[in-house]
Amino acid sequence: MLNKYNIEEWAERYYNRQLTREERAEIDAILEADAVLRKEWNEAMEVLSALAHASDAEHIRQALQSARQPQRASGRLVAFIRHNWKTSAIAASFALAAISTVQYMNSSKEMGNSKSKFTQLSREVENIKNSQNSLIKTIEDKTLTPRSPEPPQYDLGGTGFALTNDGYIATNYHVVTGTSDISVITQDNHTYNAVMVGYDAVLDLAILKITDKDFKFGKSPVPYNLKYQDNQVLGLKVFSIGYPQDNLVYNEGYISCERGYQGDSLSYQLEIVANPGQSGSPVIDKQGNVLGLINGKKSNTSGTTYAVRSKALLDLIGRLPDHIRITPPRSNAIARLERTEQVSQLKNYIVTIKTVK
């Protein structure tokens, strides 16, 4: 074990995080007890850190040296620069102009904040109706009269979107959990019964099937596709449509972190407005690829929202029993359309989900 003759070796392995938890604890204990050794140890650590810095500096120095050479790089890269330097430069200058408003933060720090919590976004339909009524009343006579409680018809609501044209729907597990009575309301205001055919409580995903055998969402297959995208989505502009109220609502935002709540790698963090009832809304990029579905938000912020990745949904579909045949939508008919046309094509495939508990 550690002594003054092998201190460099242990310090290096400690610095490179190559030690087991037990070894680290043992070393910490030895150093705690021995002040002379501790001083030597701290010195060794500083030298190692200085060497690591020297290595980084040397690496960047060389990288820049080769960058300053006349263009000799691969054609692709040259093409990138040739095609994009103007836009990049413009984008960069915008970024610089925006410097006064930009804030940096460390995600883990932010996530670790114990005050922020995760709020699921299913809505209590009646509460919202009531509060809307009361809002109107307040505006009318400035006095908030106690509301007469109506018997609630539906308790909770969320949003879902079609996986296949014949009635398979994806939504969040928390929207449909704890009930067997699930209703699906389509865009044209028809109500259908549905059953849950698969779920994953951890991923917060559920797959429903409309029980009506002749049901079809539309005349054509589902127009968007589920995109299995792992990376390179940070900053991607996305939009979402869902039912926080009785009418379809459109929202726009961007992916702000590739990890979800507390570093969840099967989720994204978005900056997008989301209200109760939007649980299960698809998160869609500009080409009409569904990247995920909204499932919650951070409770102490207005726009920070989380979405389960499509990857997780595709995994769940893959795990379903054989008799459930879901071919995840692959073709994408709306990639080149204007946003308003995209939404008008999409909306037939987005449904409200209401449950009685």
Binding site: E12, E46, V47, L64, A73, A95, Q232, S256
Partner: protein, 194 residues
């Protein structure tokens, strides 16, 4: 290896993996803007290159940190870092008195105020100072030792290559030698630092 760098995430990944093409894209896109700013403050090409290089080292070190999650554009971060570095250099080289540095046009109260580029720059400058001491210590250390350490820690060569290059009997001998050298380097380093 990534084939393309069409967004910041890919760039940052490429940078952290030590891909020279990533640093090249960053240099091509951002150096003109940052150097222009430095020229406008009275700097010359050499100091602009220096500041940019130091800024890129900061970004490179951050990119290797698994905790790092950039919440703004690379350019925004890099520019903020370079700006601070420039003011530090400017203060040190051109003026002996404290220059009132105006950061009022910048992100002022960053949430918590800790995890921002100011801290990254302070951390970098501290290491920069140690780096100078280290270089001096390496000089005093003398040849075979300095070469072994340089090959292992800076050029990241394998012990096998180093053993072959310096004609050690085997890897074990080379390792023992390397740690001995590191111990000597440490002594010289701290003697210089006093």
């Amino acid at each position: 290896m990534k084939e393309e760098f069409y967004n910041d995430v890919a760039l940052l990944d490429g940078l952290s993996e030590g891909d020279h093409r990533a640093s090249k894209v960053i240099y091509t896109v951002y150096y003109p803007i940052i150097s222009k700013w430095i020229f406008s403050k009275g700097g010359d090409a050499e100091s602009a290159q220096d500041v940019f290089q130091d800024g890129l080292i900061v970004l490179y070190q951050k990119s290797k940190d698994p905790e790092f999650c950039l919440t703004c554009k690379i350019g925004t971060y890099l520019f903020a870092v370079c700006k601070r570095l420039w003011f530090k250099k400017f203060q040190q080289k051109h003026y002996q008195y404290e220059l009132p540095v105006d950061f009022s046009d910048e992100a002022q109260p960053v949430t918590g105020g800790l995890q921002d580029e100011q801290q990254d720059v302070a951390y970098f400058l501290e290491h920069e100072h140690n780096y100078e001491v280290l270089q001096q210590a390496m000089k005093e250390l003398g040849e075979p030792c300095a070469q072994v350490l340089k090959a292992f820690y800076i050029e990241k060569k394998s012990m096998q290559d180093i053993a072959a290059l310096h004609q050690y009997a085997n890897i074990e001998t080379a390792k023992v030698q390397k740690y001995k050298c590191l111990g000597r380097l440490k002594k010289i380093y701290f003697k210089l630092k006093q």
